[in-house]
Amino acid sequence: MKTHRHNEPPLWADKLFRALCPPELFEELQGDLQEQFEMDADRFGLAAARQMYLSEVLKFAKPYFLKKRILSLYAFKRSKSNAYHIKPTSPLAMLQNYFTVARRNLTRHPSYSVINILGLVLGMTCAILIFSLVHYHLSFEKFHSKADRIYRVTTDLHNETVSKYGTVPQPTGAAMRDDYSFVEKSSMLISFGGTISIPSSSSHAKFKEPGGVAYVEPAFFEIMDFPMVGGEVRAMLSGPNAAVITEKLAEKFFPGQNAVGKRFRLDNKTDFTVTGIMQNLPENTDFRHEIFLSYSTISQTQPWLNTWGGIYSGTQAFVLLKQGTDVAKARQAMAGVSTKYYNAKDAKVFRFGLQPLLQMHMDQEYGGSVAKSQLLALSFIAAFIIITACVNFINLATAQALGRSKEIGVRKVMGSMRGQLFWQFITETALITVVAFVLVIGLAYVALPFMNQMLSTRVTFDLKDASQPLFIVGLLLVVIFVSGSYPGLILAGFQPIRALKGKLSQRDVGGFSVRKGLVVTQFAISQTLLIGTIVVTSQMRFNSEADMGFKRDAIVMLPVPETSATKISALRARITGLPGVEQVAFCQAPPASTNGNFDTGIRYAARAEGEKWPIFVKHGDPGYLPMFGLQLVAGRNLAESDTVREYLLNEMAVKKLGVRHVEEVLGKNANINGKEGIIVGVIKDFHSASFRQKIEPLCITTRVDQYETCAIKISARNVPATLAAFEKNWNEVNPEYIYSYQFLDEHLKAFYENDRLILQLMWLFAAIAIFIGCLGLYGLISFMAAQKTKEIGVRKTLGAGVGSIIWLFGRQFAQLLVVAFLIAAPVGWWLMDKYLADFKYHIDLNAAVFVAAAGISFMIAILTVGYRSIRAALMNPVKALRSE
């Protein structure tokens, strides 16, 4: 057969074939291909033969050969003995070697691996959770297609101080629509709580929806994007007593039926017909109502709302501005609302503004749930945690590097390139990170519901939204490269001779002071958090244990859904007769409560003008005083009455009235909230709100239509039976409503809900900061121990004891901790002083707090450092010195 030296098959096709072909079959297949090529070239010409050659090569990309090709990568060691096999020099083989070495290294130092993985797990979990949280908050209301043109009307009340509300007087919506040409559409949204009952259902099912109900104008659904399942919303909500509910509620209220056309009853008063079904609410909206009622119903059910003079806390107005509206000018123009609808005096008080819908969630001045600065702070915390986790990782890795200097040396002598060594360390880091990552995903899934519960959020991991997976993958890569590249570069840069002689020292891995700085920062932060945690915990204990001026043990509160005299006396008759009941009182709210507080004006005796300060009004029957143990300092208790007849004032009110002796007010008239009454007694001051607030002027009077609460003092014996009896009797009196009860103690905790959240977060972050600090410390001491091996050996041979060696380490760390404490103490003192200043009645900051915080962090540090330094101190000096 002729040979054509210059008529070879295409070179690159040959290369491709080499890549595709299992090495053990290479020779025979390549030979066959070549022979075929030569044959084809003779027969069809060179060009055709080349083409055919390429097509033959491509046909070798079959699973049969590819499988063998991949297997050969793993089996190549075995196959070396076989004479006709060719070694592959593929980078994949090297990667396999990296993995083997990495795996061996990790299993050889399990404690090192575990610490590294734990640190990374914690850091990455925090980062992922915080990212999801921030992303969630930033995404609020963004899904509305016209979001950039939607605004909420706000009210600023300019009295002595400016109070800002996201709510408006009820006629605002119509005024905006009628008076301003830049308003394209406007809608009111008026929300209420309420009990829903289904009259048609056989079991008389009752529901209480957390989102409550909202009366809206049809335009609401044209401004916002809450799509209907089908149909025209304007038709659905135009008539009175119409309702649109979500798919979720439709299934809950009318399971298995078509909800459209069905009826439900609100608060046992008004019937509504379901005229439309809307899609379920997205998670990232502050509109949590799942029942929307037609606005034309409201004039019948809530006629009291229709006034410019007052603002009900559920009344909001939303406007859609025309395209291209200058918002600044629109805001100015809105001064016209005040001048048009108010008299000159009130026009100065009521000022209206526009708040962008997209800022609603983040504007805390107007009741937004989170501030941008808080999100920023959280992001910083996440970044800090990730960075420290990476730096700790670097610390441990470089500390270990000294131990591996021989390996590096040998590798270099054998011809390892710098790049190869670098990638070897990156691979090791990647292995650790990926293991950590698997744990992170699991942990994040487990932790997410807890975070949501704690922060009252609805964050979800949504894979449809690309940003979360992108962040996670990005985080993974950043962590791998940040924590892997430093040790990789350092190690790869070792001089082989020094490395092999074992002469590497701190200088070769560098940056000791950076490490110290980091440990100090970590401990300063954790100590600050510890100080904060201790202070907040003490204040919380003070809050729940300090005397508020009234009794609060063993008092159960039941709601009174219908405040009519007949219902109340029916309930009173039933409850009073039950075993275990000591006292019963009906009232608007207990002496201290987050709800049912309202303040109003007072005109005293024959004075011509009302007082300038407001007075709080509490409504309660004559049983109120003995029930809560409120003490009379003058006069007598209220007499039984269904309407306002008599008043009790507290001492603060008397003082504010400017009356010298409490007895002087007795028998005088008072006009409070427009109701005339006689002052019959004065009671001792008590705390009617949280310890954040001062004691304010207050009066107590009777008024049966305000008794929303039934307070019951029970005996300690057989509480469950008593509570069960309450439920039974309550349901018999109020069959249309849903029973609930609350102990007064629990009720009072609502004042400090935010503080509890802060406390939990502080605990969490303190724990994380301490844990990470300990990792850093451990890394530092491992590093020091590795580096001081010789020094310790010499010291021991010269007669140093174990104690003095431990002190060698201890002194260093004591210094670091003291420096950290010197930073943490003033910062902590300053922050906590500000926190406590918010409370009008609070604990004192004392030295014990700081001593405790310092003590705890020292204890933890000693536990961390102790084991490692004792092991270093007990080492046989011969071992340390022999290798010289």
């Binding site: 040979t3 025979e28 030979g31 022979e35 075929q36 033959e56 049969y64 006709y84």
Partner: protein, 108 residues
């Protein structure tokens, strides 16, 4: 050893190996098939069939000596085994039985 069945292409390759008798290797077999079956045959398909037949025990192989042609690379030479001959005979027998039953070749 369990019975291994042959695919149509494998059967053809096995027949080709049998026919060539000595010195059957990839290119020769592919050429034989091209001429007889008058269809496009790719080397990779022939080799897969050969390796499968070897795994099933119907052919054996050994490396031949180096030659001047084909870039000096050696050939892998295949020989049919007794089991290979037997399975070919069996296939032939089964088919003959059927053909004996068919009196007229059915026209489509």
């Amino acid at each position: 050893m369990g019975r291994s069945y042959l695919g149509e292409f494998e059967e053809l390759v096995l027949l080709a190996v049998t026919v060539i008798a000595t010195g059957a290797y990839g290119v020769a077999i592919a050429e034989e098939l091209r001429q007889r079956a008058n269809r496009t045959i790719s080397l990779s398909a022939v080799h897969i069939a050969l390796y499968r037949l070897e795994e099933k025990g119907y052919v054996t192989s050994e490396m031949g000596g180096a030659t001047l042609s084909r870039g000096g690379r050696r050939k892998r030479l295949f020989t049919v085994t007794a089991a290979g001959r037997q399975i070919l005979a069996e296939i032939q027998q089964v088919r003959s039985q059927f053909w004996n039953e068919i009196i007229v070749i059915p026209q489509p």
